[in-house]
Assembly symmetry: C2
Homo-oligomer: 231 residues x 2
């Protein structure tokens, strides 16, 4: 038994990207700062990752939010250590900036700042799978039927069992994700798995996420989020 025990000494990072401007939220406050049970959404997200032992947390924020965030940290006496990084023009540039702070031969979980309900189990699972296979992408099955737009502007039914909704964390061995981000020549990606897949041709490993791990982007989402917290 003793021989099988192995200490996992690989360095772990959480790269939390909070770049949203709050346009879809119909609110002046950036959505990552919206209060959820009397605390900004982003603080819940940071707390979720802080539960993982030895993790280093990097938070990427738009330049325009920096001063506000520092004030909010004081106001809430928020004491979880994190490296603060200025975001870029697009999500791609924000992640790229964050990756500069990631040391080599580590594993990094890239996560949306506005997904505060991520569980320790899923974070840990993503590190375990990425450590073995190079990457691990949280995903859930579709509950609804889905239609694909055709080039004629019409739409056609497609089999929902062939599709997965992609969440975060998207977790990678550092060399794989840093390499892909450095080689990319356009910035039009909606997630990190796509960068690694398109630029480096890496096979993507999906694993089962959680329907509670919602991304807070609309006013309805904030109602849902409050209900999840209360339950």
């Amino acid at each position: 038994m003793g021989n099988k025990m192995q200490l996992d000494l690989t360095k772990k990072y959480a790269l939390i990207v909070a770049g949203g401007s709050g346009k879809r939220m119909e609110s002046g406050i950036p959505k990552q700062f919206l209060p959820l049970k009397e605390k900004p959404v982003l603080m819940h997200t940071i707390e979720a990752f802080h539960k993982i032992q030895g993790i280093e947390i990097i938070v990427v924020l738009p330049a325009s939010n920096m001063e506000d965030w520092k004030k909010i940290l004081l106001q809430y006496s928020f004491s979880i250590n994190h490296i603060l990084v200025e975001g870029g023009e697009t999500r791609f540039h924000s992640v790229l900036n964050g990756l500069q702070k990631v040391e080599n031969e580590s594993i990094v979980a890239i996560h949306d700042g506005v997904r505060p309900f991520i569980s320790s189990e899923i974070i840990q699972k993503s590190f375990d799978i990425a450590s073995q296979k190079g990457n691990a992408i949280a995903a859930v099955k579709l509950k609804d039927s889905i239609r694909e737009m055709t080039i004629t502007g019409s739409s056609k039914n497609v089999n929902r069992n062939n599709y997965f909704l992609i969440q975060t964390p998207q977790t990678f061995q550092s060399s794989i994700i840093k390499d892909a981000y450095q080689k990319a020549t356009h910035y039009n990606f909606t997630d990190d798995a796509s960068v690694v897949e398109e630029i480096s041709g890496v096979k993507i490993n999906l694993f089962e996420g959680d329907y509670r791990n919602i991304k807070i982007t609309t006013p309805e989402d904030l109602i849902i989020a409050s209900a999840f917290l209360a339950s």
Copy 2:
């Protein structure tokens, strides 16, 4: 001005399909009977359609639920008139049974019994569009990235802007939907638009649904539903 005024005398139906057994809900109660603000989900759904003037409501229930439903109706003194129809082996057969009660030259909105948050505006819009174009299918854009499984068991990133999540109501001129259901030779459809499209080659018209119009299928959904009702 007077010339443009037109009375809409077309007969309208709501065909509410409540066939679920409650397996995904981890509950012994069929999900359409689960209490939401002290009333079964299905009653909320029926009330939403009852707001449309002159509408006739058809409710399709599994044979095994019939006696329970009649008891529940008495228990809640529920007085909204509806035609009760026994469901079939699959969703296809349940809708087919319901369509037997739909008179010709009418318009029928087919709706999931477990989508209680449908608004009058969307129901009315679906009747208006179907009346002009033959069909109207509520749909929303994807908020998450999406991946498609490939035949190798791997997955690839696809452009989420090319996909829509399909909701109900799915509303049709009666001749179109009845014809398609009568001609179908298999029953493996996840929604009604697919039947009409595959069997009759009809072009499907999507219109903008509502993120609140959720389908209650998992325990998380019930938490969300309670929050929507409270808000």
